[in-house]
Symmetry: D2
């Protein structure tokens, strides 16, 4: 599991007093930084070096997220395929699971414009953060 | 179908030269304004008036979206339930379907904190924008 | 003058019911697209082609911007120097000037990491959009 | 001085490999949370409770901010007036001052729609975070 703590920003709150749904997309992306570092430790953003492309994201909004409390984002690897893997995220505030979601990332060669196999050493590193069985019941 | 045209912004483009995945969340939300107006014509954001809450969103990233061309967002109603409905969105650029996704909105009473039935007149208005059968094959 | 029309997005509205101050930064940046095109018609974002770097921005928040009405962004060139120029922006809603601001852009060679002179033909194109004298009294 | 540490997000980086200028607006706003708490400890966002309105912000972009390193935002109070005060922010990365800026906040009664005096106890709390003289030479 990877965890980060986030303080909501004044502008993250929408007209009904809750964190706007689009903000979760940004928070979950931020939570993927340690996963990005498995593939590119220096986080170098160039076509010849960056090895991942986004294929899919989804978000379930379960409970209201407020301005005044910090939010903990917990991230797990929920699937490791041959060329892609899935990250599962949860947003917790004051002991409440408020949102969850997932992201499918594909290993990609931006020069050749084609998908590539995930190297075995990367699979090993990802597998250290697998979602535990009981968590999948949430 | 509802359509809006969007010009990408310099900062919407990420370090690999494409529209960042989180930007689609904002664009699809903007495309829901005419749907919001079905339920609240004045777009009044207050707990006693705003009647919708977000339950789920998902996004499929199909092709790269670039800075230089406008993007057309096409939105349809893909499901009308008793208390919730689903909006289906597509992002097109230069004749290419680059992203698609959906959003599940629930009719909600923010004062009583409970879900409510969709009124029949709202169902009728939503049904005028139903996703055609052939579009579902995309 | 360059003008664009923007529909506020649900999430642009903050917890007090107005467009959040950070949103103006994005709207004014979007309004600079035609100015960017003077320097790079294809809007190509690469170090060997993109010729501008941001030095300064400022924003004055004059009146409240609401969700329900479109916003018109009017942009002018308010200064043309030897290596930099200033863009002046206004955000109007329902006949009210709600925000104004400016951005200082510097001509820059990202390969050599140094500022460069503005070419005369670019100066001529910029000068067609100069802020009129009477507008400066606002 | 108030300080927060921020990890840049993948999507904060623009097409030229640097943190987009609009992101600084969000980071500096986040850095104002402890200042907001001086005026509203529970960060309650409602018209009858929230006591501040934004009048002005400005940003100077001094050096490039990259994806791979954390950013420290340092915030000070640089002016305390009768009804408004100014916050001064700096963004540091790897020992480099990369951006600075300020925000003018006005004490405001959102029910009566009028400015109000800053209470003396709030002035005392703000004055504990005054910008030191030598910092103003930066």
């Amino acid at each position: 599991m990877f965890t980060i703590n986030i303080s909501p920003r004044f502008g993250d709150i929408d007209g009904l007093g809750h964190v706007n749904n689009t903000v979760l997309a940004a928070w979950f992306e931020l939570a993927r930084n340690p996963i990005f570092r498995i593939f590119m430790p220096e986080l170098t953003l160039s076509h010849d070096k960056w090895p991942l492309i986004m294929a899919h994201t989804d978000y379930d909004f379960i409970d209201q997220l407020f301005f005044r409390y910090d939010v903990e984002i917990r991230s797990y690897i929920s699937r490791i395929g041959s060329k892609s893997f899935t990250v599962y995220h949860e947003a917790w505030q004051q002991g409440r699971l408020c949102a969850k979601g997932s992201a499918v990332l594909v290993c990609y060669d931006f020069i050749k414009n084609q998908t590539v196999e995930i190297a075995q050493d990367k699979k090993n590193l990802l597998s250290k953060h697998l979602l535990p069985q009981d968590a999948s019941k949430i």
